[in-house]
Each structure stands twice: as structure tokens, then as C-alpha cells.
């Protein structure tokens, strides 16, 4: 049961009879009592006349997924199964970070009919946003008292990572295409593949001339130079394993974005790019357990499966177990692969496990360690405003030195290191992938 402002106003109007009949004290008390009884009686009549809010059917109209930062429309269909008109207000019990607006919707449903109440959802946080119930407040004809009931009506909306870094995708795809096809590749690496033979044009690398083919072709072809060069295309069907660290260090916010979100952005861009590059991508989110795993997906399905499985992953407050990562990678592929570790390698203390596990990985794979750097540290290192900021600058300098020592150690162990601020890490990692592909080191 709930009362309305109208009932409060009705009670307040009681001042008039109390004053009018208040010439004597008993008269005033009688007027007061009569008015209270009158108001409450009206309220009870109203309550009895209100339609039963339990006599409804609730259905939900919801999209299953939405990208973070976007708005979707949701709806609740209320069917009035009673024989009275249902009149009142509905509240949907969304979690606050689902960003449901408006939070309360008025409705007026004749007997036996149904209405859809729509609202907009603008989630403010990644993950699955849920609602467990709707609350109906059924008002009486006078609008004084209402019946209220909470009805079980679960609903869920999966909020996907925003993938802001997709704006870098077209330019990187263009770079990738330049590598592809007829362009002779200057450096012939282990992984580059023979594509075709064609005639030499000025500017081609003389080392790519295929003398045997030249000897064969010059006998029949006389109008051209007759010198044949081999063309190469970037290797294809390589494996890229992206390992995202979801341990405690990934919870740290850098430039108001948790490390793990930056890692997701980088992983999504790299996956989109590598998929176009013809490679096979596997994604693993790991701390001590596998939190998410996408294996063997291709094309449009890959990104869709990635965002869906990454959506609900949150940082765990435990240390990542790097010794188990090698086994996890081995479980995905036995072939040589590009293993991208998205983690925090900024202090020797927190990176000891990573550095200890690196040799096992670099022995059989190409390893890239991608780390977010804090632009605030760089800023602090240049501050000299007062004594306090000089000490802060010293501490920042020490942090930078630590990070560079860890990076040097990782390089010494055979891994490649990519460090960049949050906004620049995804394109930097994509560029590193393109460079590796161009040099045939995959």
C-alpha cells in the first residue's frame, strides 16, 4: 500500500472544518475525528476500488547486447488480466549502472488489454546489467491510496566493451594490404611465402631475381627485359594467441581507464587486423583460472564472440600465475605462434612471475609484451614546481627506470616489448604486428 500527495492534501483541507466548528474545544475535536475518519474511509474505498496489481502478465522486450556508451530502447509489456482498469505507475528494477531512463513510467490499461512501456538504457559500465523485478503501483479511481506489488520479471543486458580503437582499423588495414599481393618484399624472412613470378621493373631488389626462371622465359619472350623476379606475399594462416592478464594489476586505473579495458581495446584491434591478415586468432583471459577463451573463430564471428566473452570479465584481486600461461598456450597450439601478453610490466616486483615464465614462451613462440604506461608518471617526472613535486619527480623517475629495466629484461629474454599510454597502445600494438608480419617473423 502507498499513499499519494493527493491524500496528504485531503488531510490538510481538514483544517477548514476544524476551524469552522472549533468555536468550542469539544466541537473542534469532534470535527477533527470526523475528518480523519472521513479521509481514511475515502482512502479505504479507493484502495478497494483499485485494480489488483498482481493480475497482470509482464513480458520484456530487450536487445541482448549493447556496446558501452550506446543507448538502446527497452520495453515492458504489461497485460491487464483483471476485469478492472489498471491505472498507476511502474518501476523497473534495473541496476543503477544500466542507466535506465525514465525510471518510473505511468500506465493506464483497460481491462483485458496490454500496453508497452518503453525506456532507454544507457549503460555506464561493461558487463551484464540485470533487472530482477518490476514494481507496480495500482491507483484507485480517486488517486488517494494505491496498491503496490513487486513482480518477478528477470531481464539482462550484456554491455560489450566499447571498441573505441576500431577507428584505427582502416589505416592499419591499408598498411596490411600494401604488404600483400604483388609488392615484392625486400626482406625475405623465414615465414614469407612465394607468391608468383613477374618481370623485373626498375626499383626491384636485385636479390629477388630468379635466374632459373629468367633463363626459361628469355627463350620465349623477347619484347620485355626477360628478367624474372620472384614476388612474395606475407605469410598467412599463422597463429596469434592473445593472453590478457586479469590479475590484480589489471584493475589499476590509468587515465581513468582500467588496464584490463585498455587490454581489451588492444586485443580487439589486433584481432580485427590479424583476421583480415589471414591469421588465426585465439584469445585467453587468464589470472589463475581461465576467465574467458575464444578459440578457432574467424571473420565476423570472431569479434562478436570476443566482445561477448570479454564483456563480463572483471579484474580479480589475485596475482596472475604466469607459470600456467605456457601450458595454456601449448593447449591452444603446438605450432609456432605470435603470443601477445597484455599485462603490466612496470615494476620488477610485480613482473617477476612474468619474467620467469618468458623463457619458456620465447623458446617456441614469438612473444610481444604490451604494457600500458601512465602518462601521469611522465608528467610528474618533469615537475619542479616545489620541493614536494621534486620528490614526486624523483619517485616518477624511479618508476620509469623500473619500467625500462623490466622492458630491458624482457627483451633480453627474447620478447618484444610495446609500451604506450592507454589511448595509443592499441594502434602501437597493431603497428608492431604489421612490422612483424612485414619482416616475416610470425
Amino acid at each position: 500500500m502507498a499513499i499519494s500527495g493527493r491524500f496528504v492534501a485531503l488531510l490538510a483541507v481538514g483544517l477548514v472544518p476544524v476551524v469552522v466548528f472549533g468555536a468550542t474545544i469539544p466541537g473542534a475535536y469532534v470535527a477533527l475525528a470526523c475528518w480523519l475518519v472521513f479521509a481514511c474511509a475515502l482512502g479505504v474505498i479507493d484502495l478497494v476500488a483499485a485494480s489488483a496489481p498482481r493480475a497482470v502478465l509482464i513480458e520484456r522486450m530487450l536487445p541482448s547486447r549493447v556496446r558501452l556508451g550506446e543507448t538502446v530502447a527497452g520495453g515492458v509489456i504489461v497485460t491487464n488480466t483483471s476485469r478492472r482498469r489498471l491505472h498507476g505507475t511502474l518501476r523497473d528494477g534495473w541496476q543503477p549502472s544500466a542507466g535506465a531512463a525514465p525510471s518510473r513510467s505511468p500506465f493506464d490499461i483497460p481491462a483485458g488489454e496490454r500496453r508497452m512501456l518503453t525506456f532507454a538504457l544507457t549503460p555506464t559500465r561493461r558487463g551484464t546489467r540485470r533487472t530482477r523485478f518490476v514494481v507496480l503501483r495500482s491507483r484507485g479511481p480517486l488517486g488517494l491510496w494505491s496498491r503496490q506489488v513487486a513482480l518477478e520479471a528477470p531481464g539482462a543486458l550484456r554491455v560489450l566493451p566499447p571498441f573505441h580503437s576500431r577507428k584505427h582499423l582502416p589505416s592499419r588495414l591499408a598498411q596490411l594490404r600494401e604488404l600483400d599481393g604483388s609488392t615484392p618484399v625486400m626482406v625475405r624472412g623465414q615465414g614469407t611465402e612465394f607468391d608468383s613470378l613477374r618481370e623485373y621493373v626498375t626499383g626491384d631488389d636485385v636479390r629477388s631475381i630468379d635466374w632459373r626462371a629468367t633463363a626459361r622465359s628469355s627463350a620465349s619472350v623477347h619484347d620485355g627485359s626477360g628478367i624474372m623476379v620472384r614476388t612474395w606475399r606475407p605469410e598467412r594462416d599463422r597463429r596469434v594467441v592473445i593472453v590478457i592478464d586479469s590479475g590484480r594489476t589489471s584493475a589499476a586505473r590509468i587515465a581513468d581507464e582500467p588496464r584490463i579495458d585498455t587490454a581489451f581495446e588492444s586485443a580487439l584491434l589486433l584481432a580485427a587486423l590479424a583476421d583480415h591478415g589471414g591469421d588465426r586468432i585465439d584469445v585467453l583471459v587468464f589470472d589463475r583460472r581461465v576467465r574467458a577463451r575464444v578459440v578457432g573463430a574467424k571473420g565476423a564471428d570472431l569479434l562478436s564472440r570476443m566482445v561477448t566473452s570479454l564483456a563480463d570479465v572483471q579484474p580479480q584481486l589475485i596475482e596472475a600465475d604466469w607459470t600456467a600461461v605456457a601450458a595454456q598456450v601449448r593447449a591452444i597450439t603446438h605450432r609456432r605462434a605470435l603470443v601477445v601478453l597484455l599485462t603490466d610490466a612496470s615494476t620488477p616486483g610485480s613482473s617477476a612471475g612474468l619474467l620467469a615464465a618468458l623463457p619458456g614462451l620465447t623458446r617456441s613462440h614469438t612473444v610481444v609484451v604490451a604494457t600500458v604506461t601512465d602518462p601521469a608518471v611522465l608528467e610528474a617526472a618533469a615537475q619542479r614546481a616545489d620541493v614536494g613535486s621534486v620528490y614526486t619527480a624523483a619517485a616518477a623517475e624511479r618508476a620509469l627506470l623500473d619500467a625500462s629495466r623490466v622492458a630491458a629484461a624482457a627483451r633480453q629474454l627474447g620478447a618484444d616489448v610495446v609500451t604506450a599510454p592507454p589511448a595509443e597502445l592499441p594502434p602501437a600494438l597493431a603497428d608492431r604486428y604489421i612490422a612483424l608480419k612485414a619482416s616475416g617473423r610470425l
Binding site: 502507498a2 499513499i3 499519494s4 500527495g5 491524500f7 496528504v8 488531510l11 490538510a12 483544517l15 476544524v18 476551524v19 472549533g22 468555536a23 468550542t24 466541537g27 473542534a28 475535536y29 470535527a31 477533527l32 480523519l36 518501476r91 528494477g93 534495473w94 541496476q95 543503477p96 549502472s97 518510473r104 559500465r125 523485478f133 514494481v135 503496490q148 513487486a150 584493475a251 589499476a252 586505473r253 590509468i254 582500467p258 572483471q314 579484474p315 615494476t347 601512465d374 601521469a376 610528474a380 617526472a381 619542479r384 616545489d386 620541493v387 614536494g388 621534486v390 620528490y391 614526486t392 619527480a393 624523483a394 619517485a395 616518477a396 623517475e397 624511479r398 618508476a399 627506470l401 625500462s404
Partner: protein, 378 residues
Amino acid sequence: MLVAVLVVGVAIALAVQLSLATSSTDPMGANNPGQQGGQALARVLQQHGVDVRTASTLQEARRAASIPDDTTVMLSDPNGLLDAAQLQSVLRLGSDVVAVGPGFQTLSAIAPDIHQAGRATATTSDRPSCSLVVAQDAGRLSGVRQAYRTSGGATPCFRVGSTFALAQTINAGDSVTVVGSQLFDNANIGLAGNAALAVGLLGGDSTLVWYLPSQADVQASGPPTLAEITPGWLTPAILLLIAVVVAAAVWSGRRFGPLVVEDLPVVVRAGETMHGRARLYRRAAARTHALDALRLGALHRIGALCGLPPSAHVDQIVAAAAALTERPVHQVRDLLLDETPATDAALRASASALRDLEDDVRRAVAGERPGGSSAPLH
């Protein structure tokens, strides 16, 4: 001797104590022995066999005046405590009423024909010109202060200038006599014929009610109390308003369904370790340590700017930096290596100089002239 003085002193003290206990300080009080008192007159009347009954309230006066026909009432109300109705009932107490020094309101209530005439022009009156027997017996009066004037059927007596020291009005056999206030007090009773007049006026009946009105006679009147002016509906109206407030609280306080629970992520700021370490440096005053951290960073960057390998010796970097910025080698070496800051100010100066050196090297490498900022090194 000493004992005698002591005994006399104690006796005096006792006598004073006793007299204070039994005497009063009211003007015209029957047991007030002071200058303004009336004890002398009261005692004399008692000795003449008059039953002097003192009263301080109207009720006491009523009780004392048991036989109205044989009672004289002496009324002295200098403060005007009685209202008109009470004064009318005083008039009914006895056959004769003597008002000593009545105020304006008292006078207009008990004897409307007699009027105040202000201060007497002389203290001694002429011989009585009226037909009152007691006045004729008294002869002249002395110590007259207040004067009266009459109109209508009132009888004036004892002329003082153009006014009179005494006035009497008779109605239905009862007389009301008005005299000035100080005429009969202890100081003036012995002058001229004052005593004779007083005894004549007051000793006419066997009972004399000596009535001095007190605060107890004042009718309790004033502005009405809060309860009297409060309208009857006020308390019910307040109760109704309380009910309205309670209803409003229920209206806005009623929750629209259960609370929604949501687990929110922990916010971990990445810079916390850095700031913590900075505070540790500062608390421990680890200036050399802090400066060394800054120097290491600067050496790395300057070495990279000068194109030296990461494994380059520090002396090579110092030499390269000095050559690029055209500074003395020992100065650059002091800055990058040897100097030990003793105070926080020195630390800050060194840190700033370090940054300037780095900027100069960067500018020199970029092809500009060094010392653009021309910051002093020490």
C-alpha cells in the same frame, strides 16, 4: 563595669528587637511609632475606652465592623489600592468614615462633592467657621499640608487661605470626613487643636476600625491569560497538522519496491605507489637518493640524445653533454654526478638545473643555440 555595659547593651538590643517585632512602618499605622505613624492617636483613643481594631484587608475590616451603627472607620489609603466598588463597601462598614489623605480616585468615589485643592497656602488654619461640634471644640489646626474645596452639600471647615483643611459630607445619616494625611500622624498630632479634632472625629463611637488597605485588597486583574485567548480549535488543528506531516512522510518515504543491489568495481589508482614512494623520500629526507633517481633518468635521456649506446660510461655522457651545451665539463659533472644536496632548496635547485641541462642538450641536438633559457646552474 564591663558587665554593667554588657547588660545595658543587651537590654537595649532586646527592647529594639521587641519594638521592631511589634511595630510597623506603614504611614498612619496603629503600631507605628515613627514620625508618620499613628500610634500616638491609637493609644490615646484606646485609653479613652475606644475599641481600636486594626484591619489590613477589606475582609478583616468587615469582620471588625460587627455593629455598623456604632462604628467609626478610619481609612488611610495613600496608594489608592481600593477600587470604587470596594470603597462603596467601606462606606457601608460604619456610620462615620474618616478618610485620612485620600487620593483623587478615592475621593471621587467616597465623597464626590469634595475636591482636592492642592497644597495648603499656610500650615495653620483659621478658627472653624462651620457648625461641627468637634471642630468648634478643637479650635485652630496646625501642620496643615493638603487643602480641600467643596461643592454641593458638603461642609468645609478650617479655612486656609481660600481653601479648607477639612471637609465633611453627610448622606443618609452617615458622614464622610476628609482630612489631610499628615494632620494626625505622630509628628503633628500634638500641634494646636489637632489632637482634639482627631479624638473628636474618631472617638465618637465605641468601635474604631483602623483600616489601612494592603496589597491583598488589590483585585487581581490584568491582561487575559494565554489559555483564555487561545481559540478552541488550536490544539485539534495542531494534531491535524501532525497527522498531515506524518502522511506526507509516508507519502514520500514509501519505497517504490525493493532496493537493487549492484557490485561495483574497486577503483585502484595507478599513481598510488609513486606518490607513496615520493612521501617516503620526503619523510626520510632522502635527498641524495631522490636526486640520483632524477640523474639516472637524465643520464639515460642525454645519452640517447647524444647518440651514445645504453652501455656508454657516464664520463662519456658528461663529456658529450658538456661539448654540446658549451658548458665546463666539471660543472656538468658536478650536476650529473658529484653534487650532494644538503637542503631541500638545494635539491630543488639541482633538479631544476638538471632539467635545464637536458633541455639544452635537446635543443643543441635539434640544431638550436644552447642556453636559450640561460638558467644559472648554481
